[in-house]
Symmetry: C2
Subunit: 187 residues, 2 copies
DNA sequence: TCATGTTGTTTGATATAATGTACTAAATGA
DNA sequence: TCATTTAGTACATTATATCAAACAACATGA
């Protein structure tokens, strides 16, 4: 969950170190001021795409060499860093365990509904597929004007391009594990 | 040779049109202001990497979907659009026919030397390979403290990571076609 | 030892990225 | 026809990206 400009900072600094280049050298090569380069490396600046392009182009490396995060072997998502998404509805909480990442092309989150809560998803504007596991409670799902009832321990899979509605008709808590796959990959 | 922010403009506008989304909708999805989106689409703004990331991430598309140029079938490089690179030396002119492009990983240019002109290349800070064809005149090339003489109609290939020097020892014009391949690919 | 480079940071000035609000024009519907 | 919504643009304001020049810290060498 590193900020993109921090990723750039890290990548640029690492590259420059590896090549044993000074800020001055990179500045000459890319036409970007020494000051800016220094600030970018310290993540104190949010470079414009034009500046990033000048850097990648001047150094003859792909843009993605600056923007793509170096993969760690393991990613342990700790409770304390999991900040719920604001859905605008008190009764519904979403925990983004693995938010959408372009490299993987999917996202994985947990949705929790209080009793009698309803949530409308507008649809994803992409070829996308949604996989839902019901951890606890009972889910009613409206897809294409048809209601489906998925009980605790069950699961459902559907094309989620179009709008669909989640409903907890019971008075007890409903908890779902949701995975959404999108089409386009790479970065 | 389109500017990067023009590429982004085109890609974003095209994507939004394809998905039949309004600026408002994209703004809600991405958390980027309608105004900014409009300006980006009109290439009136140079978005920061953070804004681009918010867009790509909010729309669930890769960054490269915004930054990579849509390929045309044919690219005719016309004389009138070929602006020589300033080498800091009046006697040497470089015509960048196909400047470095991250997708291809190479560049192709023509170098022209007046009589008795010398040019030092600092080396490319990358695994790179240089291919030189002598179109006209005679080239003397210093690689790794060894001089090579390449005559009109001949060619040479070498690892160009390290510094090397081009020299026109004659009094007549020297013209080269140079291709440089770099390692890293993709974007 | 002093002078001269080299490397990265700080400073101050300017351009412009980014936002929210207000506005115009077009589409929709009763 | 008039009112209401929707879609994009224009405007004013704030935040900040970008640069050139000055600076400090350290190395280099004569």
């Amino acid at each position: 969950m590193k900020q993109i400009h921090e990723v750039v900072a890290q990548n640029l600094a690492a590259y420059r170190a590896k090549q044993h280049m000074s800020l001055d050298k990179v500045s000459k090569l890319t036409g970007v001021s020494k000051t800016m380069l220094s600030q970018i490396e310290k993540a104190e600046s949010n470079p414009t795409i034009t500046v990033l392009w000048k850097i990648s182009s001047g150094l003859r490396i792909p843009l993605s060499a600056l923007t793509s995060e170096v993969e760690t072997k393991v990613d342990h998502i700790r409770r304390e860093y999991l900040t719920p998404i604001d859905t605008g509805n008190e009764a519904i909480t979403i925990y983004p365990y693995f938010p959408f990442d372009t490299k993987r092309g999917f996202e994985l989150f947990v949705m929790e509904f209080d009793g009698k809560a309803t949530f409308l998803s507008e649809g994803h504007y992409q070829q996308s597929e949604e996989y839902i596991l019901v951890n606890e409670g009972e889910l009613q799902l409206l897809i294409d004007r048809e209601w489906h009832v998925i009980r605790e321990g069950e699961a459902i899979r559907f094309q989620s391009d179009a709008a669909h509605t989640y409903k907890n008709a019971t008075n007890t808590r409903l908890s779902l594990t949701v995975t959404v796959f999108y089409q386009e990959k790479n970065d």
